[in-house]
Symmetry: D3
Subunit: 249 residues, 6 copies
């Protein structure tokens, strides 16, 4: 079977497949994910899920946006960790806007944005809103993958550990399991340490300081993460999105 990745297609491949197709744009980040996961976790997961979904709905996966919005201390560790590369809000808005407009210029009518980085969402939605005003005949959906996990799977995944809430679930069991599933070669579970913060603050403070977070960059534990849980999650999320797409596109 032919590739679902746009970057692997020739323009004629793309041309033949584009009519009626759903363009799926993964949006990740380059951001610290603790001592055991690579900087590209958000890109790996959003791309991995995009591929799985694309294979089930006539999907074409556009190249992943690998530089995302600024990491916040209590949802990603923040700007202080080396390796975290933070885009300004306007940059991300413009980048997503241009990509959407170009996909539409190429004849795409259904676009799905698969977000893998918590802090991206508001800026992605701003871009979508601006594009949508000019292209009312195009249907665009955005979702962050953690927003559609079923209760059943959540229970299985958080079998020993309690779910800390999505803000703190950074390099936690969800992301670690999914990275173990998609790219086990990039995970260093031997470097894993038990670490985390006590909870969210209820406020944001500037300038950011490392005292808000841990030395390791971990906000919660990843203990009990496995590739099997990753597969469970990936299948569950894929199924949810396929259902949504069938309903809305």
């Amino acid at each position: 079977m032919c590739t679902v990745f746009m970057q692997e297609m020739t323009w004629q491949d793309f041309n033949e497949r584009k009519d009626g197709a759903i363009a799926i744009l993964p949006v990740g980040s380059t951001e610290q994910h603790g001592p055991m996961l690579p900087l590209s976790v958000d890109s790996i997961i959003s791309t991995g899920l995009a591929e799985m979904i694309a294979k089930k709905v006539n999907g074409i996966v556009a190249p992943c946006v690998t530089y995302g919005y600024k990491s916040a201390p209590l949802s990603g560790g923040g700007p202080i960790f080396p390796g975290t590369i933070d885009m300004n809000g306007v940059t991300l808005i413009d980048l997503i806007k241009d990509i959407l407009e170009e996909l539409i210029r190429d004849g795409i009518k259904k676009i799905f944005i698969m977000n893998g980085h918590y802090e991206n969402e508001a800026f992605i939605l701003e871009a979508m809103d601006l594009v949508s005003r000019e292209h009312e005949d195009v249907t665009m959906i955005e979702s962050s993958w953690w927003d559609v996990i079923s209760d059943a799977v959540m229970k299985k995944v958080f079998d020993e550990v309690d779910y800390p809430g999505i803000e703190l679930e950074h390099a936690g069991i969800l992301e670690t399991s999914l990275t173990l599933y998609f790219r086990p070669d990039l995970c260093h579970m031997d470097r894993f340490v038990e670490d985390g913060v006590e909870g969210t603050l209820g406020y944001n403070i500037y300038p950011a300081s490392k005292c808000e977070v841990t030395e390791t960059g971990l906000l919660t534990t990843a203990r009990t993460s496995t590739g099997e849980k990753g597969k469970l999650l990936a299948d569950d999320i894929t199924e949810a999105y396929v259902k949504i797409m069938k309903k809305r596109f």
Copy 2:
């Protein structure tokens, strides 16, 4: 006792009070809040709370930002309701940025942004980050008031009705009670109807359509809202912020 509102001060009043003072900037919106509440609910609440806090810490309340970021269908009803006035992301970023920079130029070293509109937050934080890079000696805190309500008060407020989560808590018991407390003259509880959506979708879809929300603009029930609950909330929130300010400024 003298006013805490900057707009009521002469420049000399402001000058005498500004050293060591905490500037508090309320950020609201102009957005539908169902059939019984005025378009300015978010501005009323953030300004009302700002005033209460300012009286307890050496605070100066700057004029409220009354035009906020775009209302999202499932957290504010969205752009389809007449009367909702949505700013673009860049506009809000620039506006907050300019205000912060000018307060700092006037010698302010401690700034608190009291957010009253869910969708504003990412753009306020972007402005703060940009300003903070140039002014590392200034401490700035941002918080949305619903993020610091104590569990004890939440229990009292949601005595009959279950808390639907903050996204859907639009024109719900929290906002209605607080508006009943701050501006009962602008509440039309006789027009209240029981209405609401079933839950969040887990995704965002463009173009927005009214089918995602209700005819009334209500996402959840405001039943059991009272001014007394509003006072309870206002006192609780004020106390929380006073504690945070004492710790961080």
Copy 3:
């Protein structure tokens, strides 16, 4: 009779009244106005006049823009006085543009911008021009209130003192009388001192220095200001605008 203030309306109130209505947007500033007047003089006057006009012409008063363009030394005292909060030009253009576009999206076809701050005008007009190019079916009028005062009233108001020209008429008899009329509670006439500059320079110089202006921030005298003169002015201005609106809308 029902409120004319949009922020006091529910979305349904606004919806019922909006067809054929004139949206009136007051644009003020947060700027020093000498030792006896509050920082919000420009917002108070433009809002006060907007309300009077709205009551006579099926008008809806949108929330006042309370942060205006940069104060110039010889028309407002300039940036050096604490309490003056200066927006950048681009910020004000975008803010006004977004508000106009949203009012138009809500079905408004007639918009009146009531400017109360001399330095705002060029940036408001830029926003209007940009919006007008996309919405040729919408009629938009902008005016600064001092541009329509009748000669007869000017003579009565400047009975003892000579009119210094509009640039220097900052916290002078016009603004002081109107503030005494609309918000006497915020005027401290006991702090009034006789002060002023000799005239305009004929040029603008950067960086701004306090030597161009007075210690008090006053550019001209406010002596002989009274609330009665304020009422006289307010009635005269209101009448002028009602006439203009009847002719042009």
Copy 4:
């Protein structure tokens, strides 16, 4: 004697003269000026005056900005006349800002902007303010030439005709006389007609329509304009600016 025009200098000429020199930047427009004057009147006059001044004060005249801000109906005829080329506000701000910053990077410490187009001023000042914040050691002055004409000369120039005020003095006696002085070859006084509007409106209306202005584009009469009056004005204005520069630089 050597040229004062920067564009006629080699980089070494400029280099030798720049220390301590006053850079003079003329800002004009491309705008209708009635049936008898060329589209470049504002550029011709500001450049002509800049040259005269430069010769008296170690001045270097930078290339004229020949595209200016949008013409307003009642101060320049507006956008409806073919040949009027209107820049957006942001464009003019950025253009002036970049020129100022580059002159400063080249070691210039004294800059004079000679404005020849009424509508430019607010945007020039915005650029100057933004640059001045970063370069507090540079002194920058801006002035529109009509703001420094002496009363004595005004009386001689308006010997038969009454001065209509600066807004309407578009292609009137001041501009026509100065153009007759600087570039008589481009004036077609045989095409002159007596035409004009009754006065300013006191408000701005969008969309612009030709009914606000005259068929010819003239807002006031240019009758009695002569090159001699032009010389009288040019000498007077030059003297005024030389005095200002001696005082402030």
Copy 5:
């Protein structure tokens, strides 16, 4: 015969000629051109050629854009030479965009941009692309004059000296000969020295340093430049563009 320069026309002159006319916009720079040529070489040549072409096709020459994009060390000497005034990319994009849009608003359907500064091109094309998307019925052509010189003429011009390639042909034989032809009064051939760099680097380095270039600013020799060669070039280039315009407009 009547002028081809828009700035010398009245609005009525322009109006009578504009239908079916080709608007020609010269875009130059203010940039060092060695010890013997003025800072405005790029503007002089692009304007001179524009005039020649305009006389052969029904052309109208718009005012030259005299401030261009940033000079690069190895194609113009770079930012280090005093007198070089570098615009930011966004500024040039916006400026060209506004001019194009205004020419189109005036009814122009054929636009030719005559570029005289190597570094301008990408930003001019960006402006054209943005405008073209909104105005598909307008044909716009851009060209740098060195791109159309015939081989025959190149051979005659480079009779003794070898052509160094266009990047290094800065203040070389092409530009010097053309300036000698158009404005011999501004050329100081007595100051000419033999100087130049060895070749291009194959890369760009920041920050720029004077070591990449020569002390004089010359990148190649101008020896054997003459006004006669200038005329030869100008005629050849004019002929090429007239042919292109006849084919494409």
Copy 6:
């Protein structure tokens, strides 16, 4: 040996390696490359070369920028081919600027941008210039890989076919050989056809039309391309850059 790809590193890996390291940023595009090559050719080659270089010079390869500037008809086929995704100039400037600033914030002092898409260059340089003004202690080099190929290798590569010049060398022998070397699995040489344009036009025309280019998107022949030639090129280019880096960093 450890990875050179930043996205495969944990933040601690990056942290340990970053001091003294050269950050290498590949910038590619998503653009048609004829019937036999994938849309990501420019990203594949710039990333492939970046990896080779990084292994020789303590380099860290940042995630590739996979969306580049607008494809031009005669250097990339232009916007008409489906699958070509064109960023606006401002978007690319901002994106590169943010990435550079973040690498610098992380302590990087040496940055190399490896450009793989002809049309990107001016916008990358603009970003570098803007960043360089604020960070004069950081050395940044940009180069397009085709600018450093040795004459010896060029002769070997163009053994049968003549080199058409870099503008037309789109999906030609250079790009095809390098893609055959780096990602043979994505090349469909069986779909190769002999096709091409006659030469460059000497001008750019808008709106773009398919008549300027070929049906296939090929501008020149790729005949005689092989993976061996690709290796020869890659080794040659790598060697050239290693030499440049040793000299300049």
